[in-house]
């Protein structure tokens, strides 16, 4: 009888011990973590690329990179559009040519200056930007894809 009790105690001890040992294998849960509560903003993902692929890159890329590094990133994401006006210039030159790209940029800058009627005119990008892609302005009708203004495009 005493031996039986002894075996029972041994078994229960073994079970308790193995459970506690197993639970301790999940160390990650208890380790120190450094959570960040900063909201991720892909709108500001900069492509600091200085590779020269065309003649216009010699002038445009250093200028834009300098503007991003010294002005825009310090000042914050103030452009109401996605892509931002500076990214719009880079993309439009890449998509078309320096002359057409510059015209597209001046036109974009005019739209940026106009603060009226944006909500009724543009779909929304993320939480606080208006979506205004270059594909609408290349004068290539095939590339124009209309997105209704009340659409929210996720980042």
């Amino acid at each position: 009888m005493i031996i039986n009790k002894f075996i029972l105690v041994l078994i229960s001890l073994f079970i308790q011990l193995s459970i506690s040992v197993y639970s301790q294998t999940d160390w990650v849960r208890w380790e120190k973590s450094d959570p960040t509560y900063q909201k991720k903003d892909t709108h500001l993902n900069r492509d600091f690329d200085l590779s020269i692929q065309s003649v216009s890159d010699v002038i445009v890329k250093p200028l834009i990179n300098a503007y991003w590094f010294f002005v825009s990133d310090v000042d914050g994401a103030n452009c109401p559009f996605h892509p931002s006006c500076s990214s719009f210039l880079v993309q439009s030159i890449k998509e078309t040519n320096p002359f057409k790209g510059t015209l597209m940029f001046f036109d974009r800058f005019t739209r940026d200056t106009n603060v009226f009627g944006r909500l009724e005119h543009y779909p929304r990008y993320g939480t606080n930007h208006f979506y205004d892609p270059i594909s609408l302005y290349t004068l290539d009708k095939e590339k124009i894809k209309i997105i209704p203004t009340n659409t929210f495009i996720n980042e």
Partner: protein, 283 residues
Amino acid sequence: MSNKIFFLLVVILFPIYGQQIDIHSPKNIKKFADFLFCDKDYLRAIDEYKKYLQVVEDDTANYKIALGYSLINDQSNALQEFSSINNSSALYEQSRIEVLKSLSLSKSDSAFYLLANNLINSKSQFSNNAQRLLNTSILLNENELPDKNKFLIPFESDDKLLLGNYYDLKINPPYKSETVAGILSAIIPGSGKIYTEDYGDGITAFLLTGLFTYLAYTNFENDHQTRGWIFIALGAGFYTGNVYGSVASAQIFNAKVNFNFENGLKLFLEDKNYFTPAYDFCK
């Protein structure tokens, strides 16, 4: 003691009795499939109907499989299943108009027009539905339209009014000319954008071009050559950019006209369920 025996009997008899109900009988499979179908869980309903059809021949179940595929927008499977319903079935006529709907949604134009004309000429109970679907598709996809009165004959009076408006829009779409927009902006900066109904952008373009031109003028007047040329360059940039933007704005305006036209007609077709008959499967 007798209580214990009674309790044991209950415990033993319940599972024994439970095993006597065959939940996989064809009748129960069909019942479950019908429940899933009416619950709009079409994919699982199709699986159950297929199980049921392995044992029983039932053209309604076959039809529901096809209808399920059609409702989840798997048009190729829907076409295959609807086509398997033979002409001795009571659901054959319905299946033909459903095939027409699937062909319309899968953009199989030549097959669609062929079947639509067959259905119209066959004088079946759904000939008028086929004619309505054909006319709406012509309005949506074709450039040449039949006479307006002839076009509107198969429709009901409410739809006649709506489709009459769409017909007029197709014949005379309210497009804006890209050339006019560009020329207007070249004459008065921003006026091209006002023409394309981008009023805010038009006024802004006028103010920006005017401001930089004025700044250039006053700087040259006061002999500030460098500043004058900088403002001239900026003014010229905004001016040419606006002429370019006005042409782009006219293109976007026209694309929006097309988008609203197509979207409106597609919503009309969805609202009418592509002129397919209403079913009482779930009543």
